[in-house]
């Protein structure tokens, strides 16, 4: 039997146009043996959810540098709930003030990685979450 590979969607929601970080993460996850899909810039939450469904990913990682992480993440969680999707693990990275981390986790986000988080930490958090 072929082994199951972890499939990750690296998504850039909203208006921010900085994706250096998202690309670095995407390549690091690939190097860690995962199958990574990158959405490209300026996606709406609806588009991101649609891609996540068609690609049947295990993990959705939002990369947000615009400061809009709270409303964007809330919208994503609401959309997933509306469509009855419960099996995807959600991570958020980017410019995230530490005071917002508990708020994001309360919404159901699995892990938050502010800029400067070691890549190894991100990889092991994703692997651990998918095994659950």
């Amino acid at each position: 039997m072929a082994e199951k590979r972890i499939k990750v969607l690296v998504a850039k929601p909203g208006l921010d146009g900085h994706d250096r970080g998202a690309k670095v993460i995407a390549l690091a996850l690939k190097e860690a043996g995962m199958e990574v899909i990158y959405t490209g810039l300026h996606k709406t939450i609806d588009q991101i959810v649609n891609i996540a469904i068609q690609e049947d990913v295990d993990v959705i990682g939002l990369s947000i540098m615009s400061g809009a992480h709270i409303p964007l993440t809330r919208k994503l969680m609401e959309k997933l709930k509306e469509l009855g999707i419960q099996d995807k693990k959600i991570f958020v990275g980017g410019v995230i003030p530490s005071k917002d981390i508990p708020k994001l986790k309360e919404m159901g986000v699995e892990g938050v990685f502010p800029g400067g988080t070691p890549i190894e930490e991100i990889i092991s958090a994703i692997k651990a979450s998918v095994k659950k």
Partner: protein, 319 residues
């Protein structure tokens, strides 16, 4: 999950069910294959377009434009983009969606990325299964993009009705073409990026080359500037013409299915044999003799295979 339910949900247009079933086939899960067995007899009416060509030739951009134009005509589109699996890490990176910006706007389009996961020939083992599932989901045009690496690209033609090979005017010289073997596969050659210098001349070179190798069989060449959408309508007309022609080639179509099944049998056997060998005493004995140079590797391989073919397994003692 019940395969009957899953198949029913796919036929009723449930994208979640379709995408889950594709994953199951990718991961080799039994349920996925059961779903496929139910759907396969109902398929065969969609138009499956394979797209191959060297990296950077514009395959994704061509697909984007094709999907967009077919979509505007009211067709329901599925796209399967196959990318390489890293040999070192087994990971994969899919960037195709960045090029499918126009296609993404088409309503009801289903785009799925697949890593080829080591299957020989530039397509993924699950690609045929994914095609069937997308057809059952109601897609009329299914475009498959293969890993762009020349020579080993034969398998794309096994799971496509018509194959497009995308080239650019900077393909190099005739020797490069002969080496790459790309022109042996395509039913249609697309010369993309016709806006770069000397493009017309290079297109003529290709036409001469095609005439010299294919004799009377003419492979049409379509010139495009995909980024601007130029030539894409002509490409669609050419695709439809080739499709008509192909439908009449009964013998070739049977041959294709045979080759495909043999490729799948080899793949299945490879897995089975690896498992069989791992703990086999005879295998390890012989291997030790090869390592110590008492036997040579060819001798061992031939001995093992003839034994398996005769007995269905590798005997404990070889006569």
């Amino acid at each position: 999950m019940n395969p009957n339910d899953l198949a029913e949900r796919i036929i009723s247009g449930d994208e979640k069910a379709a995408s889950r079933a594709i994953s199951m086939i990718e991961n080799g899960e039994e349920t996925g294959f059961e779903v496929l067995s139910k759907l396969y007899p109902k398929t065969g009416t969609s138009f499956r377009i394979g797209v191959t060509g060297s990296p950077g030739a514009g395959k994704s951009t061509i697909i984007d434009r094709l999907a967009f134009c077919y979509g505007k005509k009211g067709k329901k589109i599925g796209v399967i983009a196959i990318d390489p699996t890293s040999i070192k890490t087994k990971g994969a990176f899919f960037g195709d969606r960045l090029r499918l910006k126009n296609a993404e706007k088409i309503e009801g389009i289903f785009i799925r990325s697949m890593a080829h996961r080591g299957f020989s020939g530039g397509i993924s083992k699950a690609a045929l299964g994914a095609e069937c599932i997308l057809e059952a989901l109601g897609k009329e045009i299914i475009i498959v993009e293969s890993v762009g690496v020349g020579q080993t690209e034969l398998s794309i033609s096994l799971i496509s009705d018509v194959v497009i090979t995308v080239l650019t005017p900077d393909f190099g010289d005739e020797i490069q073409l002969m080496k790459a073997g790309l022109l042996d596969i395509g039913d249609i050659i697309v010369m993309n990026k016709m806006d770069i210098p000397n493009a017309e001349e290079k297109a003529k070179d290709i036409i001469h080359y095609l005439e010299s190798i294919k004799g009377e069989i003419s492979v049409p060449l379509v010139k495009t500037i995909a980024r601007q959408g130029q030539g894409v309508e002509l490409l669609i007309d050419t695709l439809e013409q080739e499709r008509e022609k192909k439908l009449k080639e009964e013998k070739e179509n049977k041959e294709k299915i045979k080759t495909l099944v043999i490729a799948l049998i080899k793949e299945e056997m490879e897995k089975g044999i690896e498992e069989m060998m791992e703990k086999n005493i005879t295998f390890n004995d012989l291997l030790a003799q090869v390592i110590s140079k008492k036997l040579d590797p060819y001798y061992m391989a031939r001995l093992v295979v003839s034994n398996i073919l005769k007995n269905g397994k590798l005997e404990e003692t070889l006569g």
